[in-house]
Amino acid sequence: MAPILQVKNLQHIYSVGTPFEHVALNDVSFSVERGEFIGIIGHTGSGKSTLMQHLNGLLKPTSGTIELDGKSIWADKKTTRQARFRVGLVFQYPEYQLFEETVYKDIAFGPKNMKLPADEIDRRVREAAGFVGLSEEQLEVSPFDLSGGQKRRVAIAGVIAMEPEILILDEPTAGLDPEGREEILKNINDYRKAKNATIMMVSHSMSDVARMADRLLVMSGARLMMDGTPDEVFTHARELLDMGLDIPEITHVFMKLRQMGLPVEPVYTVEQAVSQLVRLKGGNVHA
């Protein structure tokens, strides 16, 4: 199958021609298949957010192309606008963009801009609210009366309601407690399954991306340094650490165990770790 999204030799320079000129992306190329879950990791300032804003046409590349279904999103005005709806982008700390009187109206903002009929808007708002676990009553309250985690969910629902084929989330779990994080990750997975959507998620939590993603993109210093399955990426633990990135805690533990002489393979999720330990103990599952 042809990739849904193809990025070729993307370069972005901020503030060209001023003393603040800054290369934020340098020769980045990759492609995304329909239905994939891609995790994007990289240290602070490596260009992740900049890259994400290119994928729905918010930022225009200094050079390079972005193709959605084989057609450049900058081909003409209509295509660019279409890309905004087909590629939904949830920003870092999206709760700061809420503005409407009620949660319902805020979620409806995107679908309204798509000029959908009223009953379709209503259906989408309710469905999106369902995906993120907001109740009927909560739809009628002011978004400013909600807790931080709930606000975040309203903001995510606001993008989901546009039913994008590709849903991009920039650190959706930043600043939430473990329970809130789990729920948001589950919401994202629910949406993916229901709509067969493609997900791209930027995260600083290695264990989250290791667990959720089929594929990882590793950014460092404005470049794409690695592109592969979590298996492939986390076998390069040394390089990751050198790039100032962390590896999942469980990988750390198992590296230590290996150093101590235990015959274990490298792992990056808790499930893998369990099965390894079980194997070590001789197949006995009641540990």
Binding site: G17, L58, P94, F99, F109, G110, M162
Partner: protein, 268 residues
């Protein structure tokens, strides 16, 4: 992008102009503006212009940035020029149509007015481009210090200005971010009639105000936590002190002003 607006932005650097005491630069700007309004002839304008060009060259501010900063002011410039061309009467009539007479004097006057505004703004840019907001308010506070006798809250005013200047880039960045976020939800700020465009601003203004108030709150708390309680007894880490180059600059300023006045007294 909004961020690219350079009006009043500081360009860090180490040129002799950057290193001058902010008080020197403030006073020099005043001297320069006074001289500009006293200048009446081609010769004095040429002198002022040369002074400005040298100052820009020494400061190593790229000309491009200054030209870019001018862009928002093109309208005012053109407007001033047109007004002066149409409404100045004189002796040498050049053309007349529809009852409008255009005189040679009008054109000369329009030219001088535009040059004056351009030079005035460039001078101001030179100050803000080479002086950090903090240094600028420090300088102002120190220069206005004597007014404390008149019970003018000089320190508070300077602090307010300092905070306002400090937060302009932050708010611009924030506006940029909120605009992008709303655009990602299909908001359209570029098309529609006036009413629709004004309406399109609501999704930006509401979050912007909320975050501005939140920031103000946080800042107030942070300042209180560091025991800030006004200017009384507050000492400074960086004391302003005049150096040789400041005296030299003042000398140049006096020379410039005197020169323009002498030229003026000769009717030049």
């Amino acid at each position: 992008m909004l961020k690219d607006i350079t009006l009043g932005q500081y360009f860090p650097g180490k040129s002799p102009v950057h290193l001058l005491d902010p008080r020197t630069k403030l006073i020099m700007l005043v001297v320069y503006i006074v001289a500009l309004f006293l200048a009446v002839s081609w010769i004095s304008y040429a002198v002022m212009f040369a002074f400005l060009v040298i100052a820009i060259a020494v400061s190593r501010i790229p000309l491009k940035s200054i030209v870019k900063g001018m862009k928002p002011l093109v309208f005012i410039l053109v407007f001033t020029g047109i007004l002066n061309i149409f409404f100045t009467t004189g002796e040498k009539e050049l053309v007349s149509f529809w009852g409008i007479h255009i005189y040679w004097e009008g054109i000369v006057r329009a030219f001088f007015m535009m040059i004056r505004i351009l030079m005035l703004i460039t001078g101001t840019f030179l100050l803000t481009y080479t002086t950090s907001p903090i240094a600028l308010t420090d300088g102002l506070e120190s220069l206005l210090g004597p007014l404390k006798v008149l019970r003018l809250p000089v320190h508070e005013l300077a602090m307010m200005m300092c905070i306002a200047l400090r937060f302009i880039p932050t708010l611009i960045e924030e506006t940029d971010k909120i605009m992008s976020a709303q655009k990602a939800r299909g908001a359209d700020f570029e098309s529609g009639n006036l009413l629709e465009r004004v309406k399109a601003l609501v999704p930006i203004l509401v979050p912007l105000f909320i975050s501005a108030f939140r920031r103000a709150d946080e800042l107030a708390t942070a300042m209180e936590c560091r025991c800030y309680h006004g200017g009384d007894g507050r000492t400074k880490m960086k004391l302003l002190r005049y150096k040789g180059r400041d005296y030299g600059t003042y000398g140049l300023g006096i020379l410039l002003l005197a020169g323009v006045i002498v030229l003026r007294s000769f009717g030049l």
